[in-house]
Symmetry: C2
Subunit: 463 residues, 2 copies
């Protein structure tokens, strides 16, 4: 392929907004998960003809039937139904849609494996599939979160199996999604996207596309690697700061200081941002994003000390909650073995129906292994099976005869717990372990529970 001086894109700069409005833009979204589905829906809503390509036949069938499994994403179900019905979104199990698209948007998962190594097989497979029929002038945009350099070093070269050259023959851009599960649509419509491309015209066109589709002015950065670094940095900031609050929690437990009281007071200073301790960090983004950065750093010969240490601290928290539970049961004269532990909340964060990498699982498994009998109540999984447990229909049901209530997720519903009724339903002497600082310690104690909370002056008396 002879390199060309000027990029020849199917949608040239200055035309994206108009063409989108006219229904003259074809977009293939690869991967119809929690990010891909709303991305497809919003592009369709903006006027694009959208093909959704997913390797899972049930996802394809659901999408074409207008069904959306993300019940915790406000507004998404309606949008998907509307565009499935009108045919502006068509799902398929074949990559062919990508072969005549103006834009291909990669939204496949990028998990980490058991050894905490990034697993880029889905983006590689997607790139191979797209590469098989990639047309000159198409722009391939990676929304999947990847380490800096993966777009230039893995996705681009894989797409070049098409015989076309990145930058010269097709556009290569990164526009990492930066939305928070549970508020994906809201974030997509309000947070500026970070866009980096390997060519200037491609960068301009992608900026125009997202501006027109989402109504928010994107931020253009130097390169795909820069855009990916932004995505990772903002999530690592959270991971490290949660780890710092967990480090304080462990320390303050030993010093007889209430970590929540400290952090609430710190929050009155103008340059402090509160993060709270808890059972650890889970979900599809936070823990993995730190590992992507660690992997790229090590490849470049750098050791990301803080990022790595933060991961280790957060990964240790589920064990700490096991220790708290064991000690709390000890204080009501019981062993873990033979105790009934009612776990309130298993989702990785409040008000989402998602247990990906939830730290609560590790705590439950360890307590099970120690001989505890686990019951589960999570309002997002009421009466459903989750993590191998049959979810109870109510907090009260899960608490019957419990020796310990373990609050694992700070779901909104748990702000209104009827502690007195729960205490009556539970065993005569019962503990309450609050792994999320969601329950008022005095209220729990007044209701008859022996209270323990992460970072709450547990190991020694306050004075």
């Amino acid at each position: 392929m002879a390199p060309e001086k000027t990029e020849q894109l199917m949608v040239p700069p200055g035309t994206a907004a108009r063409r989108l409005k006219q229904g003259a833009v074809k977009i293939t979204v690869v991967g119809l998960g929690r990010i891909g589905l709303p991305t497809a829906a919003l592009f369709a809503e903006a006027g694009a003809k959208v093909t959704g390509f997913d390797v899972d036949p049930s996802v394809v069938a659901d999408t074409n039937a207008g069904r959306c499994k993300f019940v915790d994403e406000p507004g998404l179900g309606d949008l998907v139904r509307k565009h499935a019905k009108s045919g502006t979104i068509k799902a398929t199990g074949s990559p062919e849609g990508a072969f005549d698209s103006d834009f291909v948007v990669i939204c496949v998962p990028t998990p980490v494996d058991q050894g905490k190594t990034p697993d880029y097989s889905a983006v590689r497979h997607a790139s191979e599939d797209i590469g098989r029929g990639l047309r000159r002038g198409t722009v391939v945009i990676t929304e999947s979160t990847v380490g800096p350099g993966i777009v230039e070093g893995l996705i681009g070269p894989t797409l070049e199996s098409s015989g076309l050259r990145a930058t010269h023959d097709f556009g290569l851009a990164a526009c990492p999604e930066r939305s928070d599960p549970g508020r994906i649509l809201r974030d997509m419509r309000s947070l500026p996207r970070i866009i980096g491309a390997t060519g200037p015209e491609c960068a301009s066109v992608v900026v125009e596309l997202y501006r027109a589709a989402l109504g928010v002015e994107p931020i253009r950065v130097t390169s795909p690697r820069t855009a990916n670094a932004v995505k990772l940095t903002e999530n690592i900031f959270r991971d490290v700061n949660i780890a710092l609050s967990n480090e304080f929690a462990l320390l303050f437990e030993g010093l007889g200081i209430d970590a929540k009281e400290v952090i609430d007071a710190c929050a009155t200073k103008y340059n402090f941002v509160p993060h709270y301790p808890g059972i650890g960090v889970g979900g599809p983004c936070l823990p993995s994003n730190s590992y992507y950065m660690i992997a790229e750093a090590l490849k470049a010969g750098d050791i990301p000390y803080l990022v790595r240490m933060a991961r280790e601290i957060n990964d240790r928290m589920p064990e700490h909650v096991v220790e708290l539970t064991s000690e709390a049961l000890n204080r009501v004269g019981k062993t873990v073995r033979g105790s009934k532990v009612a776990v309130f909340g298993v989702a990785y964060k409040p008000d989402v129906k998602d247990v990906q990498l939830t730290p609560v699982e590790r705590t439950m498994k360890r307590l099970s292994a120690m001989g505890a009998e686990i019951s589960v109540y999570d309002p997002m999984y009421r009466g459903e099976e989750v993590l191998g447990y049959r979810g109870s229909k109510s907090a009260l049901e899960a608490s019957r005869g419990a020796d310990c209530i373990l609050l694992g997720t700070a779901h909104s519903e748990f702000k209104e717990l009827d502690l007195v009724s729960l205490s009556k339903a539970a065993s005569a002497k019962a503990a309450l372990v609050d792994a999320r600082n969601a329950v008022d310690p005095e209220a729990a104690t007044a209701a008859g529970f022996v209270y323990c909370g992460v970072g709450r002056a547990f190991r020694v008396p306050t004075r």
Copy 2:
């Protein structure tokens, strides 16, 4: 001493505001430094009769003459002059004023020694001095920043050498200052103070006193140790986040990514707070505060991994700037030995006249040791001696014949640097090393400098 059920304070709860207004409250402030002097001034302004006790005779003389050396604290000089003249502040080298005071406020320095161990000798000496004549009912408030437990475990017991018992016979409280040098008066008048005492009446009275004197509603916490933990936690938050940005800077230099571009883009997310990389962290608070917490943690048998790692990363940054300088000189064909390096800014942070623990010193010393000739220009030390160097009168003067300009402090004045004139004054081939990301790289390059900046895509080309 027979313990009493009720605390008998000289200023009982409910009376502090009225008495202060009536001029019927006597306060001794121990230590008339950057915190003690404004504290004394604000209490005097609120109506108290203030004695300032300082062991340094020149500070006593200056204060009584209405002189204030903190020229970088807006409004402080006027306040000190006013109250010295009217006699509402009287400075003395003897602790006797404390013996008939309603409140004694400890504002002495708490540095760390060469081995990074907290040096509490000034608070211990102050407590011994006060203890020699402490009167029943006095409240002793520690504003000095100390580790959690130092008020209860060191200051209280030392004061008990008076024969009086803390809580029962005298009040023991912590109200750590949380002001930022350069804006001390503004912060004291706007940031809520965090107050913890060992007795409930004492806590109430101290809350009333600070509310009345500063006009900001204080936050009452469980204990002095909690109040001190708040102060340390909010500063450690900054230290750790600056370390994280430095870690990213080092990593991004290796990956060809501009750290400042990344952080600026991250700052558009609602839950991200930007901290920028640089030459390291100095000043009277930040580095020391982390070491206080580390010391207390280790005493309690806990290892504060992140806090310690953050300190190590920040402490390494001056060396990294040496490396950048060496490499920048290399790129203009020069060795460090024999090169003239003009250092712009030596203060530990912008717009303060303060070089305590400034990281710039370490860089300068190392470059000197390697054979560089150093000239210094800092607008806060124009023509004065600082760190053993005679400060130049202008940036231009310092730059004459320089092979490298090293920007060490982001003083406001440096936003307006005339790079073209500086480049003309400097050696024909000169480098500019920006250790604070304060100069526009393109402008520096356009002016003829070879540019290097911390975290700015220096080690490898961007693409």
